[in-house]
Amino acid sequence: MNFRRLQSFFHKEFLHILRDRRTLLILFGMPLAQVLLFGFVLSNEIKDTNIAVLDQSKDVESIALTNKLASSGYFHVALTLQSADHLEPAFRSGKIKMAVVFPPQFGKQLTHEGSAALQIIGDASDPNTATTLIQYAQGIVFNYGRQRASSQASAGPTIAVQTRMQYNPEQKAVFTFVPGVITLILMLVSAMMTSITIAREKELGTMEVLLVSPLQPLEIILGKTSPYLLLSLLSTVVVIVLSMTIFGMPMRGSVLLLALECILYTFVALSLGIFISTRANDQMGAMFMSALGLLMPTMLLSGFIFPRESMPWALQVIGYAIPATWFNPIVKGVMIKGIGLEVLWPQTMVLLGMAMFFLVLSLRNFKDKLA
């Protein structure tokens, strides 16, 4: 291994990358955009949802309860309907997401008999939102009913539930997404970009030139991957700093541990990138293989956006083969929970194993197929 040779190769690769301003911009801009989106834009919060009220009794009680719903901040009474026939068109046109139907004599039943019935209809084309909306509405209705009923003697025992949202008391969506974004960036830059770079040399024919040069295959690989290693780590640092400063993401654990784990994960990603480049014939092929084989699974199956427990068993098993599935809990654990290797050693071991396996496999493949 000749270091002077390696150094000049490094230099060339760096120049290639730095001169491609547009690509650099996007490589840094994309994770930034994602973090900003997740932090400021995307949420599951329910507020001012348009609902309809069909009040068939129109007395003091029903009007009071409607007001309570409207002033909760969750709902906005967009339509007051006069008949049940108007319900379907209202839902179908997407104007409302929920309807509250008061039966006739609502108030009278509530005050004289102490209990009354109420119907809530949810637009379950969006099942989760419908469930949440109905839950919120039920809560408000329940509280109102209890207030009215406590004026009567026998209300029965009450149970107070003290809830606590651990690790993330303000329930910021960012906490669960930033670690996932980090896994995605590292995979994108390290794996995809590396595979495309090497595939481009193959496609344009310059790989032959490289191979007949005094450069050893190992040196070629080192030279091709190191710039992207640095770039991805830099990108990760930017994302972490941003999420800490703007979104208040904590760093409760050891920074050193996080850095080491990131480098470990990057190695896995890099070797996967090299592996793909040995299989693809051109850039488009490399890009699609990385996108389908690495990025998609990382985004979908690693537990980044969708919880793994809800997935069918087969997909959960596939998820175990994805490096991000193991890396995600490491980032969350170190940053948000403040735990260390004593809890995270199983995940770290798996990543170490993956890194070694893929490194050996890709190097072997590179030597056989290209050199």
Partner: protein, 371 residues
């Protein structure tokens, strides 16, 4: 016009002869629809529960039983140590910890009031919110059962309002009915935008675009020749995806399929034009791919597939008017699940038509027969 037909023929030949692209076009929509639909499940079930029951009275045991038989929770830890339970929470072995005070039953009977503490791992805020909702719901249900258990004087009327709720359009709250139509829209948008951008830039990178430029070919003929093949292919992909959706997931097809295909015919130019526009500003395939990827990630995250559009801040909802994918996703859901009529979705048609005209106009305007 004949010229355009020749160009289209050439394009199709290239597509079908390209061993990477053809399987991609057929398999990608199918595989992604399948994969994404099975993975994308926000249904929160199989939650792991940790129980700290200091009372072990019939009442508390009954409450614990309610949790474990609810179908949402599985008891993974039962003990007396707070510290141990917290460790389970930190290691992700439980999602929720319920602590019941030592004199739970006595407090209920004698003082008519008792406390329960619930701790949730809130790193994934929306999952914790839903889990907490289930848990508090179960507690309230338990409270209503108290008279029947002999823990409250019989005849006590917890009073209040009985709510009966119904879920329209999706009574089983099948999450796939909600996701598959949207996913289909998203995948088709992604593929045609990508392929169009890459297709044109590839010609530029390889130099064959210069050969086209020196022919008597006019701008509009060239553009049509490039857009038409993928326009037609998008309809094929839609048909394929809908068939898979129907056969595998039994998605509802309430609305007019004719309208669905008509809309997608009108919608395709939006994404095709976007791809074209991107290709005008990219020098290499890598740049085109990354730029397209950047925009598409933003569009897809904001289109209402992963988080509801209504939960976004107002300024983001307005910015979403520039997001074509959002119209397609919303349209598919409204028509397939709710059977929306043309009157309900004419806004979608209008927006998509306008968007297509503007984007393609821009693309044509910025297309230069430059090198």
């Amino acid at each position: 016009m004949r010229t355009v037909l020749f160009l289209v023929q050439k394009e199709f030949l290239q597509i079908f002869r390209n061993r990477t692209m053809l399987p991609l076009l057929i398999f990608m929509p199918v595989v992604q629809t399948l994969l994404l639909s099975f993975a994308a499940n926000y249904e929160i079930k199989n939650l792991s529960l940790g129980i700290i029951d200091h009372d072990l009275s019939p009442a508390s045991l009954r409450l614990v039983n309610k949790f474990s038989s609810s179908g949402y929770f599985q008891v993974k830890y039962a003990g007396f140590s707070r510290a141990e339970a917290d460790k389970e929470l930190a290691a992700d072995r439980v999602d929720l910890i319920i602590e019941i005070q030592a004199d739970f039953e006595r407090a209920l009977v004698r003082e008519g009031h008792a406390n329960i503490a619930i701790n949730a791992n809130a790193i994934n805020a929306s999952k914790a919110g839903i889990a907490m909702g289930y848990a508090t719901g179960i507690v309230q249900d338990f409270r209503r059962e108290l008279p029947g258990l002999g823990l409250a004087p019989p005849g006590t009327n917890p009073g209040g309002i009985q709510v009966s709720y119904s879920n329209w359009y999706n009574p089983e709250l099948n999450y796939k009915y909600f996701m598959v139509p949207g996913i289909l829209g998203e995948i088709i948008s992604l593929i045609i935008c990508f392929l169009t951008a890459l297709n044109i830039v590839r010609e530029r990178e390889m130099g064959t675009i210069d050969q086209l430029n020196v022919t008597p070919l006019q701008k509009w003929q060239f553009i049509l020749g490039k857009l038409l093949p993928f326009w037609m292919l998008s309809q094929v992909m839609l048909a394929l995806g809908l068939t898979v959706g129907y056969l595998v997931f039994h998605i509802p097809m309430e609305g007019s399929l004719l309208m669905v295909f008509g809309f997608s015919l009108l919608f395709a130019p939006c994404m095709l034009g976007l791809g074209f526009l991107i290709s005008n500003f990219a020098d290499t395939q890598q740049q085109a791919m990354l730029t397209a990827w950047f925009f598409l990630v933003v569009f897809i995250l904001m289109c209402g597939l992963f988080t509801p559009v209504e939960s976004m801040p107002l300024w983001a909802q307005r910015a979403n008017w520039l997001n074509p994918v959002q119209y397609f996703v919303s349209f598919m859901r409204m028509v397939l699940m709710k059977g929306a009529t043309f009157a309900d979705v004419r806004g979608h048609f209008a927006s998509v038509l306008a968007y297509g005209l503007v984007v393609n106009g821009l693309a044509v305007w910025t297309y230069r027969k430059r090198s």
